[in-house]
Symmetry: C2
Subunit: 234 residues, 2 copies
């Protein structure tokens, strides 16, 4: 906390913003929600949805508010990712931005509302590819997205977070495809299902099946948050 020197009053010259990395899975590809900037700086570039924190607003609550304003969806999962505070990251004024990772269930597309209409989902791999001139992202948002994807990839290993990327009911094949999409690898269907079933509280059976008698079983998310031991990434 501020160690304020003798007689010195703290200066309050910063703006604080939140930026959301909203990830979901579309057709087997991990995608991020981006909006297009309508004014300088970086006019016309894509950027993360974000907004300034109100002067009497909690930073975490500001993130939830921005999500609601941008997507008109219920907030399924959010966690703080990190804070980006290079002095020149916004050419206008000093902005310190707190980034958040949001995971959206598949199929939960934002309907037409204010900011949602101006945005869309884009595959993350071209966005975070280092070399080519991929669609230019505003500010330091390429690094923020890369950090978010790293976080999501490793969190799938030791948490049950993959289920939050699915609707309420899903098959073990759906869950496996989430892992395959996020990690970009193929997994053995049988060993994967065995592992998931063996983790206490990861998924619980609904008793119903996807189609008829012999069709894949439907599960819902269980109460467990952590997997111990973790799922191994190939």
């Amino acid at each position: 906390m501020p160690v304020i020197g003798r007689g010195q009053e703290p200066e309050a010259g910063f703006a604080v913003a939140v930026d959301l990395v909203v990830l979901t899975i579309l057709d087997g590809s991990l995608e991020a929600f981006l909006v297009r900037r309508r004014r300088p700086p970086f006019q016309g570039c894509q950027s993360l949805p974000g907004g300034l924190v109100g002067s009497q607003e909690d930073v975490d609550e500001a993130a939830a508010r921005v999500f609601g304003a941008a997507t008109d969806l219920p907030l399924p999962y959010i966690e703080q990712l990190g804070t980006y505070g290079a002095p020149d990251r916004d050419p206008r004024l000093r902005v310190v931005s707190v980034a958040y990772l949001v995971l959206l269930p598949v199929g939960a597309r934002p309907t037409a509302k204010t900011a949602a209409a101006a945005g869309g989902f884009f595959p993350v791999n071209p966005l975070i590819a280092s070399s080519p001139a991929s669609p230019t992202l505003a500010f330091d948002h390429r690094r923020i997205i890369a950090d978010a994807v790293d976080r999501a990839r490793s969190k799938l290993e030791y948490t049950t977070l993959a289920a939050t990327l699915l609707p309420d009911e899903f098959t073990l094949g759906d869950l496996r495809r989430v892992y395959e999409s996020v990690w970009g690898v193929g997994l053995h269907h049988s060993n994967f299902a065995r592992k998931v079933r063996s983790v206490d509280g990861f998924v619980e059976p609904t008793g119903r099946r996807a189609a008829a008698s012999g069709a894949p079983e439907l599960f819902r998310q269980g109460p467990a948050a952590l997997m111990m031991p973790a799922l191994m990434r190939p």
Copy 2:
């Protein structure tokens, strides 16, 4: 990033601070470095060393600067922990604080310098104990310390960070005592040494020994940063 409305200029009414959770091991106990506040608010309370971010200063660099000012030691390891932004966490003005986790090698005590003289190391367990009126910590620093200890405990599982809590040369017994101190458990000496030796690049032998011919072998930190598979916490 700031989605600035029509004609609306962003307001810059925040102060941004950095707070450091400096952890080290003293006599087998995990301890945090605290200073005593000399002025209100929370006058006389203990608090994390911290300071305000300069108007042209990178936030991460501010953390390094504050560490140097508080302890006159080289900075061995630092990582961002999280950002704490409740609107009323500082009664004077709106301060958003970015917390950092710093790990200090054992024996690296700050010598007499400015802020170091006003501070000292305190065992973390009483500090983060929920119930009793432990030495009152300023602001939300008890939660920050608890988050830092959680982070340190889990990072020891899958990284080679424990070695940064030791001097340049150490025995596998020293390393095991680091784990035992941070985790608060006992570990099998033989199985632990086997595991550590088997992780490629965790430690590398110096060729020397602690005392004479049959004494414990001395190691230094290796190049690996991650352990895969992880060390299991009992």
